[in-house]
């Protein structure tokens, strides 16, 4: 179970690609690990790409992005 937690991911979904790009820049600046990936098939968003993160970084990412980027939702994978 612990291993599962270490390797668990979530994604941030956005309304538009420009929001995703803005978020990417902010995360890069803060040196937070993330990965830009296509939106998983079982989810949906208005834009086709999203940012995947390790769940342990979720609160940090929320902090960095809140108020600066329009976010559709956070989803755990």
């Amino acid at each position: 179970m612990q291993d599962e937690q270490i390797n668990s991911y979530g994604v941030v979904l956005f309304q538009s690609i420009s929001s995703a790009l803005r978020a990417e820049k902010l995360l890069k600046k803060q040196e937070i690990a993330y990965k830009l990936i296509p939106v998983p098939r079982h989810l949906s968003s208005d834009c086709g790409i999203c940012i995947r993160f390790h769940t342990q970084n979720e609160s940090q990412i929320r902090e960095v992005l809140t108020g600066k980027v329009e976010i559709q939702s956070f989803c755990l994978l």
Partner: protein, 197 residues
């Protein structure tokens, strides 16, 4: 009577998972969710299962009823992925962008594409990188993790040596093998399926 699954208060993708499990057991389910994103995800999943989907937005929640087998056939994979190709599948990456036109968009698309390649079942046998495509194979590349995963899963990665030399990247290569134009030409011409992005 349909089986009712109350997914109010569940974070995604839980409602979809619950829907999938319920549909495995019975042909008709009603899922109750409390937000539009969950509604869309559940409805989309229902349609992908060849279900008839009806949505009823009530005060206390959104009721989505899915009836299996009422509409068309389930979405299946493209038949081409099942027919064995007469030779190796080769994916050509001629640029560090996917498609031509808008540069910034092209960079995003190639990252998205290479990630998707690690997840789909139809893997290429060989990938060839040339021109600015070789920039994707170096240490600082944002897709390095994906390319390494593909290589680990048996995908042969050939990188144009002339191109590495041109961009002065020979020392920075971090995945695949440096190749020459003879091997690249042979690989292209003996491919059973050739895909260029």
């Amino acid at each position: 009577m349909p089986k009712v699954v109350d997914c109010r208060g569940f974070a995604c993708p839980q409602p979809v998972i619950e829907t999938k499990q319920a549909l495995e057991k019975t042909g008709k389910v009603t899922i109750i969710v409390d937000n539009p994103a969950a509604r869309d995800n559940v409805a989309r999943f229902g349609k992908s299962q060849a279900g008839r989907v009806t949505i009823d937005e009530k005060k206390d929640g959104i009721y989505i009823t899915i009836e299996k087998g009422k509409q068309g056939k389930p979405r299946t994979k493209a038949p081409s992925s099942k027919i064995p190709a007469p030779g190796p599948s080769v994916v050509v990456i001629p640029s560090d962008q996917m498609g031509r036109g808008e540069e910034e968009l092209g960079h995003i698309l190639i990252r998205s594409f290479l990630h998707a390649l690690t997840e789909v079942s139809a893997r290429p046998d060989t990938m060839i990188f040339f021109n600015t495509g070789v920039k994707l194979t170096v240490k600082e590349s944002e897709v390095l993790e994906d390319l390494q995963a593909l290589e680990k899963n048996g995908v042969e990665i050939l990188i144009c040596g002339t191109c590495l030399d041109y961009f002065n990247l020979k020392e920075k290569i971090a995945v695949g093998q440096v190749s020459n134009m003879y091997t690249i030409a042979e690989t292209l011409l003996s491919a059973g399926r050739l895909v260029t992005v």
